[in-house]
C-alpha cells in the first residue's frame, strides 16, 4: 500500500559561482512512491541529489515545487500537521558520529522523541519504552547502554541508537540516507539486516539511499537511479542492476567493484568508457564545477544531462528525454527507448 508519495518534487538552490548567482536544480521533478513493508533504494553518484530528496521528505528542506503526499493527502509544512507528519516519517542519517549529539546520553536521545510525540503517559512508561527500543535494535542490556554518551559507543552501536531514535515515534516510513556508508564493512550487514527486520516487523516503508549497488540490490525491492537531480531509471532491483537500460546505470553497474569479475571477465577493459569530466577526453572541463553544475539553468533546457558522457549520445539527446517504459515496471529516461525498444 502506498504510504508516501513524492510528486514532481523540485529543489532549487541559489548558489554563487564566481560572480554569478545561478540556480542549481538539485532535484528535478522527481516522482516515486514508498509502499509499506517495502524497501526502495535510491542510488546515484555523489551530488546527484539523493540527500536532498531525503531531506525534503523529512521536511527539513522545503521543496521548491511539487508535493509530498502521505496516505494520498498533501502534507502541511508547519505546526501540528508537521508534527503529525514527523510522527509518521523518520530519518536516519549517514554519519553515526554526527547524528548523535555528543553532549547528550543515549537516554536523552530516545526520551526526547517519546516526549515530543507524546507517546508516553508516565515516566515509568517512558523508561519501559526506551528499554524496549534498545532491545529492538539489539542493544542489550539496555540499562548499560542508556547512560552512555555517543563517544563511548562504536559506530555500529551509534547507528543502532540512531535507528532506535527514528523508531521511537512509531513511524510508518523510514528514510535511511546512506545509513552504513561510514561503517566498517563487517558491521554494515548487521545494520542493514536490522533495518530489514524492523521493516518486516513494523510493516515500514523504507527508502534506502546508497551509492552501493550491491546492498541496494540485496536489500530493496525496487531501485531508483538518480543522475544530476533527475530520475533516470527505476525498476525491480535485479532488473535495474543486472539488466540496466539507461547508459548511466550501465556505467554505474560496471564501475561497482565486484570480486566475481576476478573470476570472470577482465574488469578493467570491460564495460563502457566512463568518460567522466576527469577523463583525459575532456580534460579542460573544470571539474570542480561538476558538483555544483548538477543542473544549471543552462543545461536544464539543454536536453539529456548525461549526453556529454554518454557513448550512445545522438542528436536527439539535445532535447530532454521523457521517462519511457522499458520493461515490466521498469522505466528509463533515455531516447534509446523512444519507440518501445526496451521491450
Amino acid at each position: 500500500m502506498s504510504v508516501l508519495q513524492a510528486d514532481a518534487l523540485v529543489k532549487e538552490y541559489l548558489v554563487r559561482d564566481g560572480r554569478r548567482r545561478i540556480t542549481l536544480r538539485a532535484v528535478d521533478e522527481l516522482s516515486f512512491e514508498l509502499l509499506s513493508g517495502t524497501t526502495v533504494a535510491l542510488v546515484g553518484e555523489s551530488g546527484s541529489g539523493k540527500s536532498t530528496v531525503a531531506r525534503m521528505l523529512a521536511q527539513l528542506v522545503r521543496p521548491s515545487s511539487g508535493a509530498i503526499r502521505l496516505d494520498g493527502e498533501s502534507v502541511s509544512s508547519r505546526g501540528r500537521g508537521l508534527r503529525r507528519y514527523r510522527e509518521d516519517v523518520q530519518l536516519v542519517f549517514q554519519d553515526p558520529f554526527g547524528s548523535l549529539n555528543p553532549f547528550h546520553t543515549v537516554d536523552h536521545h530516545l526520551r526526547r522523541p517519546l516526549r515530543v510525540h507524546r507517546r508516553v503517559e508516565s515516566r515509568a512508561d517512558e523508561d519501559r519504552q526506551i528499554e524496549h527500543l534498545l532491545e529492538r535494535v539489539n542493544l542489550t542490556p539496555p540499562a548499560r547502554v542508556a547512560g552512555k554518551r555517543p563517544h563511548e559507543l562504536s559506530g555500529g552501536q551509534r547507528q543502532r541508537i540512531a535507528i532506535a531514535r527514528a523508531l521511537a515515534p512509531a513511524p510508518r516510513v523510514l528514510l535511511a540516507d546512506e545509513p552504513v556508508s561510514m561503517l566498517d564493512v563487517s558491521i554494515r550487514l548487521e545494520i542493514l539486516n536490522l533495518i530489514d527486520r524492523l521493516k518486516e516487523e513494523d510493516d515500514l516503508a523504507v527508502l534506502y539511499i546508497t551509492h552501493d549497488l550491491a546492498t541496494a540490490r540485496h536489500f530493496s525491492r525496487r531501485i531508483l537511479v538518480m543522475y544530476r537531480g533527475e530520475l533516470v531509471e527505476s525498476g525491480e532491483s535485479d532488473e535495474v542492476i543486472l539488466r540496466p537500460r539507461h547508459p548511466y546505470t550501465r556505467l554505474l553497474a560496471s564501475a561497482a567493484p565486484d570480486p566475481r569479475r576476478r573470476l570472470g571477465t577482465d574488469p578493467v577493459s570491460s564495460g563502457l568508457s566512463s568518460g567522466g569530466p576527469e577523463s583525459p577526453v575532456t580534460p579542460s572541463v573544470d571539474a570542480s564545477k561538476r558538483s555544483t553544475s548538477g543542473a544549471t539553468e543552462g543545461d536544464a533546457s539543454g536536453g539529456c544531462r548525461f549526453r556529454q558522457r554518454c557513448p550512445s549520445a545522438m542528436a536527439m539527446c539535445a532535447q530532454r528525454p521523457p521517462i519511457l517504459p522499458v520493461g515490466d515496471g521498469h522505466t528509463a529516461r533515455c531516447w534509446l527507448y523512444r519507440d518501445g525498444a526496451g521491450f
Binding site: S46, G47, R55, A58, Q59, L60, L82, R83, R86, E87, Q90, L91, F93, Q94, D95, F97, G98, S99, L100, N101, P102, F103, H104, R112, P113, V116, H117, R149, P150, H151, E152, S154, G155, A162, R165, P169, E178, S181, M182, L183, D184, H211, S291
Partner: protein, 314 residues
C-alpha cells in the same frame, strides 16, 4: 564527495566539540598550566571576595606617608599614608567586578548575536554578522574613551557596560562560525526532524556543545575588560565609585610614585593585572586544548625530546 572514511574513535570527539570524557577532564586538571592558572585566579578571586571584609577602612589616612613595606603596612603606604595593601585588596574587587560584568555581558551578547545568527542563517544572520564585523573593526579603546568622556562621571558599572558593548563582536564571530559548524552536524537536523522547537534546538542541542568555546571567550572577555579598564583608569577616565588596579596606577602616577621611588605603590597593581591576565590565559589554554585536542602536548613528546637531548649531551 561522499565521506566514507571511518573516523578513528579518538578523532570523533575531536571533530565534535564534545565535552570531555571525564577521564580527559581529570587529565587536564593535572596539567600544570591549568592548575597554575586556577591557583592564581582563585587566589585573586578570594582576595576580592573576602579581602575587603577584613580591612577596616581602605581610605584611612595616617601621617606615615610613603613608607616602604613593613610589617605594619605589607605593601607600604601612599602619599597620604593610606595602606597600599588595603587598596590593592579593594582594587582587586573592583577590577574583578569589571572583568566579570564585562565577561558576562559580552558573552551573553556574543552568544545572542553569534549563535542566533549562525543558527538561523539568511537575512538575520547577514545583518547580525555585518553588525558584529563593523563593531569588530572599529577600534574599541578610542570609542570607549570617546563615550566615557562624554558621560557624566561614569560609575564602574557604566564603564563595564561600555566595554561590553564594544567587546562582544570578536566572540560573536567565533561563536557564529562554531555554531554554523555545529549546526551543519546531523544531530541538529535529527533534532529538527524529530520535531524539536527552534529555541530548544539552540538551547539543548547546540549550546552545550559550544560550552568550551563560550568559556574560552568568556575568559578572554575578562582579560580584555580588566586591561581596558586599567587603560581607561590610567588615563583618568575610569569609574569613579570603585577602586580598581587601574585607578591605583592612576593615583600612583599622579603622585609621581615612581619618581619618588615608591615602587611599592606602583608595581603591585600592574603586577596584579599581569598575573590575573596570565592566570586567565593559562586557563584559556586548557579550553583551547579542549576545543582542539591537537594542541595537547603528549607526554611522550616531552620525554622523547628530553631523552634525545640527554643522549646528545652525553
Amino acid at each position: 564527495m561522499a565521506e566514507t572514511r571511518t573516523p578513528h574513535p579518538s578523532s570523533a570527539a575531536a571533530g565534535g566539540l564534545a565535552l570531555p570524557r571525564s577521564s580527559r577532564a581529570r587529565g587536564m586538571l593535572t596539567d600544570w598550566k591549568l592548575r597554575l592558572g586556577l591557583i592564581i585566579v582563585g587566589l585573586f578571586a578570594l582576595i576580592g571576595l573576602v579581602g575587603p571584609l577584613l580591612i577596616a577602612d581602605v581610605g584611612a589616612i595616617s601621617d606615615e606617608a610613603l613608607h616602604p613595606p613593613s610589617s605594619n603596612h605589607l605593601l607600604g603606604t601612599t602619599q597620604t599614608g593610606q595602606d597600599v595593601f588595603g587598596q590593592l585588596v579593594y582594587a582587586t574587587r573592583g577590577s574583578l567586578i569589571v572583568g566579570l560584568v564585562v565577561g558576562v555581558l559580552a558573552t551573553v551578547l556574543s552568544v545572542l548575536v553569534g549563535v542566533v545568527g549562525g543558527y538561523l542563517g539568511g537575512r538575520i544572520d547577514e545583518a547580525l554578522s555585518l553588525i558584529s564585523n563593523v563593531v569588530l573593526v572599529i577600534p574599541s579603546l578610542p570609542l570607549v574613551i570617546l563615550i566615557t568622556n562624554y558621560l557624566d562621571g561614569a560609575s564602574i558599572l557604566t564603564i563595564a557596560l561600555i566595554i561590553s558593548i564594544t567587546s562582544w563582536a570578536a566572540s560573536a564571530r567565533v561563536l557564529r562560525a562554531q555554531t554554523m559548524s555545529v549546526r551543519s552536524r546531523d544531530y541538529v537536523d535529527a533534532a529538527r526532524a524529530m520535531g524539536e522547537r527552534t529555541w530548544r534546538v539552540i538551547l539543548v542541542e547546540i549550546l552545550p556543545n559550544l560550552l568550551p568555546v563560550i568559556a574560552s571567550q568568556f575568559v578572554f572577555a575578562i582579560i580584555f575588560a580588566i586591561l581596558t579598564e586599567a587603560g581607561l583608569s590610567f588615563l583618568g577616565l575610569g569609574g569613579i565609585d570603585y577602586l580598581t588596579w587601574g585607578t591605583m596606577l592612576y593615583f600612583a602616577q599622579n603622585a609621581q610614585a615612581l619618581a619618588l621611588g615608591a615602587w611599592w605603590w606602583f608595581i603591585p597593581p600592574g603586577l596584579a593585572i599581569a598575573l590575573v591576565g596570565a592566570g586567565l590565559s593559562l586557563i584559556n589554554f586548557s579550553f583551547d586544548e579542549l576545543i582542539n585536542p591537537r594542541l595537547r602536548v603528549p607526554k611522550s613528546i616531552r620525554s622523547a625530546r628530553s631523552a634525545s637531548r640527554k643522549r646528545r649531551r652525553s
